[in-house]
Symmetry: none
Subunit: 228 residues, 2 copies
């Protein structure tokens, strides 16, 4: 997910960038409204964080301009906490606002909330949430896995790994791939963490873990869930 942070205060923009990147988002920056609009043409942006007070083109004007062409979720940052500003911001097309000084955790929560809402609308109930291969079924809504109809309990990490592999049965994921997707951070030195988890998953979903039917290894490459 790509987020555009638009603030002339370099310090604040950088701080936000770090917090968001820490959450796994890709962050682009813009120092004013004009830059922001330019960035939108260059990158696919999924959410905008926009400061109100900026030189050249302020946040209000920029928001209006952006809303003429895009429906990207937009969170407004305002130094003042007057209701006046908030109302103005929301009327103009912002989806939410946060007042400075703000709690980074709050900003992140609101970012997630907006992205959730936005992506939920696009795929309302349409998104697939049941993945099957052979007698192995994963229901992502119920967080439920069954093998031959028998429910199997997986821990959160185990679940995430299996879901990743099952969302694309047959596709091989390297250990680095898995680490990045599941932990949301580049695999710096994942000893054999992933392998251990794989073992635990096999223990639970395979009849005979030594001759796995579903969760196969591809030597020197990674792991996959067989497409059956």
């Amino acid at each position: 997910m790509n987020i555009l942070v638009c603030d002339d205060d370099k310090e604040i923009a950088d701080a936000i960038k770090i917090y968001l990147e820490n959450e796994g988002y890709t962050v682009f920056k813009a120092a004013d409204g004009l830059e922001a609009i330019a960035q939108l043409d260059q990158h696919e942006i999924h959410l905008i964080i926009m400061d109100i007070m900026m030189p050249k083109m302020d946040g209000i004007k920029a928001t209006v301009k952006i809303r003429e062409e895009h429906q990207i979720p937009l969170i407004m940052l305002s130094a003042k906490s007057e209701d006046y500003d908030k109302i103005l911001g929301l009327n103009i097309g912002a989806d939410d606002y946060v007042t400075k000084p703000f709690n980074p955790l709050e900003l992140i929560a609101r970012v997630k909330s907006q992205l959730r809402r936005y992506t939920a609308l696009g795929s309302m109930e349409m998104k697939q949430h049941v993945y099957k291969t052979g007698e192995l079924i994963l229901d992502d809504e119920q967080k439920l896995i069954t093998v031959d109809g028998e429910p199997v309990h997986l821990t959160p990490v185990q679940y995430k790994i299996l879901r990743l592999l099952m969302m694309n049965t047959g596709r091989v994921y390297s250990i680095e791939d898995i680490y990045e997707k599941v932990w949301n951070e580049p695999s710096f030195n994942p000893e054999n963490t992933v392998a251990v988890h794989i073992r635990k998953i096999r223990e639970k979903i395979e009849i005979n873990p030594k001759e796995p039917k579903y969760l196969k290894v591809v030597w020197g490459v990674g792991y996959k869930v067989e497409k059956i």
Copy 2:
């Protein structure tokens, strides 16, 4: 789709029949509980509309009898609107109820809603207002919750949380999900609020809160109400 209308009042039964046939359903009639049971043997019935007050065998007795053998969705018609009757009907195995005098459109909406539950089709025109799982019943119209037929008092927040979970039994909601839906704002500080409410709810609806039958935790993910 075949619907059985069971009411000794011929006028009402005929009126219902016409409305339902107008919607494309095939309607069978029965004047009392005994007739209803006889009809069930002869035709494949997909939904039952059952009046409470009837000669020979009343609706309550008939419902109990029917539930011994069938899981057909059943909507109860009651002349009285007292809470007592509603609770009784639901505990006995009815899936929904409508009080006389009723709006035909409401009845049809509830019929569709029930059929949808069992066939998993269509769109949401009428939101369901009775949610059941095991012996736990939530009636959103009366804001009433019963466990084993015993009404339990929940505070507003507790009620909202339980309703959210019961509207989709089996589905897992993260703490953030719950916070957002119940408080209508994203959660950002690592609080414990939801967990405390969950505890309080368990205290009230569970026999043994330490081994909850209904309100389960899914480790590292969130909470759900078991689909029973």
